[in-house]
Symmetry: C2
Subunit: 177 residues, 2 copies
DNA sequence: GCACACATATATCAATTTGATATATGTGTG
DNA sequence: CACACATATATCAAATTGATATATGTGTGC
């Protein structure tokens, strides 16, 4: 499951421009997938070449022309086939755990800074997911992704809060030795 | 923080070959970072060019020659500087949540298959982390990464188990409409 | 009134990374 | 004796990131 497929899937929800798809990645998809313009725009071009989407140009009176993409029936069919064949693979890239793994090479103020930063990031993500939690147009599956994210972040935040004291203490002891 | 930095960091623990670093990514780093040979070998070459690591060739009597890399003092210094400047950025790529987001486009047997698969994956990851949990040579920071991972996976597994019944029920209702 | 940050909107590019493939051999299982 | 899996290195097309470019509008603070 790559950015091209996710763009196709987004267009199975409703019509979007590339810019709006980027916003979708930053909002509804934020806690489980990310993509940059550098992969979204080429993906949409390829989908167009393959006849899986069509485009209609909306002249922007003050901004550049907006290219609104729509899925074709072959596009929708193709996406449903992909969903049936895609395994639920999880991939995590955590700068936080990486820094913790090498925490013995940090000084204590830096360790505290990292813990503060990650707590703040989790808190922000919780606030955001909380704000979109009760959106009525969501399907049960969509609601599940929000609730799963909320629960995971809340739990991670609690874990860090419960362990930070002990971590800092042990870190200072280690530095003295 | 990229693969090159993680290779350098690994070599700050002890000497490794490229193959052994790959094993490290598949074991200790598995739940927070992944990397393929296609990024590890070029990274080691670059580190060598930059004088941050040295290499000693161990003739493999039956296998290809083994190239054992060691960090230099500049390499260690460089890695510590990077740790001080790297923000704790979290990035998640979850095929599971993506499939759940589009669950309304799946049939019910496929939804059940996905839930079974993710439960099994979480269970396997828990078993693995449990097996390395009490390794004595680990630093407090390293132990933290294992405990954090264990706790997160256990919590995610519970969440899926608690919600699967309701999810499947609602999915069947949605399909009837 | 004007600078500055931020939003709309598209697009490209070098560098990084993936996932597959190639090569060559050893070891354990059925 | 075949087949899967482990050791060990390396490369490559394709995907992706993160930065940069272009052009304009809108709101905020001094």
């Amino acid at each position: 499951m790559n950015v091209k497929s996710l763009c196709l899937g987004s267009l199975c929800l409703k019509d979007f421009s590339g810019y709006e798809i980027k916003k979708l990645f930053e909002s509804a998809f934020n806690h489980f997938y990310s993509a940059s313009y550098g992969s979204i725009y080429p993906s949409l071009s390829k989908l167009l070449d393959e006849g899986l989407v069509t485009v209609s140009i909306q002249p922007g009176d003050k901004h550049p022309d907006k290219k609104i993409f729509s899925v074709t029936s072959e596009g929708r069919e193709q996406f449903i086939k992909e969903l049936a064949a895609t395994p639920p693979v999880e991939q995590m890239r955590s700068g936080f755990l990486m820094l913790m793994f090498f925490a013995h090479l940090l000084d204590t103020p830096r360790l505290i800074e990292i813990l503060d930063q990650i707590e703040q990031q989790y808190a922000e993500e919780i606030d955001y997911l909380d704000s979109i939690k009760d959106c009525e147009e969501n399907t049960p599956g969509m609601r599940f992704t929000v609730e799963f994210g909320l629960d995971s972040y809340q739990h991670a935040l609690n874990f860090v809060r419960q362990h930070r004291g002990q971590l800092i203490e042990k870190h200072q002891q280690g530095a003295v030795k």
